[in-house]
Amino acid sequence: MGLWHPRTGGLLVLAAVIAILPAFLANAFYYDVIILVGINAIVCVGLNLLIGYAGQISLGHAAFFGLGAYFSAVLTGTYDWPPLAAMLSGAVAVGALSFAVARPILKLRGHYLAMGTLGLGIIISIALNREAWITGGPDGMAVPSFSVLGWEPSGDLTWYGIVGGLLLISVWLALNLVDSPVGRALRSVHGSEVAASVAGVDVISYKVLIFVVSAVLASLAGSLFAHFAGFITPDEAGFIHSIELVTMVVLGGMASTYGAIVGAAILTILPQLLTVFHDFEMLVFGGILMGTMIFMRKGLVPSLAALVTRWRR
C-alpha cells in the first residue's frame, strides 16, 4: 500500500493542515476558536461512527461530553486527583454508563431511538444542574489546569498541539475501524439489520459497541475541554449542544470521517462570525440541518467528492 493510498493521503493532508494552520492564527481568540473546532471534531469523529456508519441516531451525546468534563472538574478540583487519572476515570465511568443504557435504548429504532437518547441526555443534564453540591449547579464550576507528571501545558500553541495530535489519533483509529470487518459490520447494520444478522453479524452487540466507543470519545473530549476552558457549565451537557453535534455530523457528511471534521469546523466558526445574530443561533443551526437534508442529503464532503469524480470523467 503506497503512501498516496486515499487513507494515508487523507491523514497526511490533515496533518499538514494542522501543522500549517498556526501561521494564520493571528491572536489568542483565533487559537481559542480553532482549539474548540478540534475538540468538537474529536466528538464528531466518534459520533459519526454511530450516526453515519451504523445509522443510529443519538440526540444525547453532549451529555457524555458534559459528564467527562464534570468528572475531570470535580475529581481534580474537589478531590485533588491527578488530571490524567480523573480524565481516564471519567472515560471508564461514561463507558460503563453508556454500556448499561445501550442495550435497552438501542433496541429502539428510528424516532424511538432518538427519543430514548434525548431522554437520557436530558436526565443527565438535569442532574448536573440540580446536584449543585457536587457540580456547582447552573453557575458552573472552575477547573484546575491540566498537568501530567509535573508538566503543565500552557499557552495557546501547546494546547493547539495537544488537541491537534489527539484529533489526528482519533481520525487514524476511526479510519482503521471503518476499513475493517468491524466497520463493514456497522455499515451493514445501517443498510439492512435483517440481512446483517442473517450473514452472522450480531446486530445488537455492534450497536452497543459503537455507542460505547462514541460515548467514551465524547467523554475524553469533554475532559479536555474542561481543562482547556478552565470553567464549565451544565450547558456543555445540554440538549442544544447535542443538536449542534448532530448538525455538525450531518452537514459535514454522514459516513465521512473527514466530513465530521469539516462540519465541526464550519459550525464552530460560524457562530463566532455571526455574533450579532447570537439570539438566532438555533434558528441558523436548524436552517442548516434542514437545508442539508433537503438539498444535500449525503452532506458536504461526500457531495463534493462525488462532484469531483464526475468532473474527472
Binding site: L173, N176, L177, D179, S180, P181, V182, G183, R184, A185, R187, S188, H190, G191, S192, V194, A195, A196, S197, V198, A199, G200, V201, D202, V203, L209, A255
Partner: protein
Amino acid sequence: MTLLRAEGLHKVFGAVAAIQDLSFTVSPGTVHSIIGPNGAGKTTLFNLITGLYQPTEGRIYFEDNDITAQPPHVLARHGLSRTFQNLQIFLNMTALDNVMVGYHLQCDSRFLPSLLRFPSVTRRDAEYRERAAELMAFVGLKDYVKADASAMPYGALKRLEIARALAVQPKMLLLDEPAAGLNPAETLAIDALIQKVADRGLTVVLVEHDMRLVWAVSNRILVLNYGRKLAEGTGPEVRANPEVVAAYLGEGGRDL
C-alpha cells in the same frame, strides 16, 4: 439422515394461524421446494427456520441440534443462510463489500485488532476480498465487482444476494423467490445457478412461484395451503395429486 427436521410447528399472529401443525424433514444434498398459493405461509416458514420469527409451538432441529428460536446470527454459525423475497441489499456499500459481509464470521472482527489495524486483520481481509470476487464471478456478476450496490439493476441484485448468502458458507441455503420479478431469460439463468449450487452438494430450500423452475430443480416438494401441509413428495407425485391441482396448480398446471 436428515439435515433439517421441523416438528409440530405452529405460528400464530394474533388470531391468524400462519403455520399449523407442520412437520417435515430436509435431506442433505437435495433441492427442496416449498410451494403454495399466496398467503399459504411459505415465507413465514422461512422466517421460522432462519430465526426471524419464533414459533408459537414446535421445534426445529438442524443436524440434530435444537435451533428453535435461536437468533439469525447464531444460525449463520450453524450453517444456515438465506435470501429475501423483497431484496435486502446493503445499498450503502459496494457490491463486493456486500459479499464481504457474508464472510463476516470468517474474518477477524475483534475490536482492538481492527481499531489498531493489525496486519493479521488486513491480510485476512485481502484474502477474503479475492474469494468474494471469485464468488461474484461464480454467480455471474464478474462485471459488477467494483460497482456500488445502489447502481446495480434488479436482476444483478438478486444474484448479489445469492453470492452474499453463499459467502456465509452454509450447509443449507434458503432461497425466497429468487426468480420473482425476473424475465424468462433471467429466470433460466437463475435456474442454472441454483443447479450449479446444488451440484456443489449444498442443500437448497426454495420458495418459488415459477413452476417451470420448481419442476426443473427440485428433488422434493412441500405444498402448503392455509399454513398446513397439503402434500409432500417428488415433482411427479405432487403434480398428480388432485388436492394440489385444486388448491394451487389449476388444471393447466399439470402440463407445465
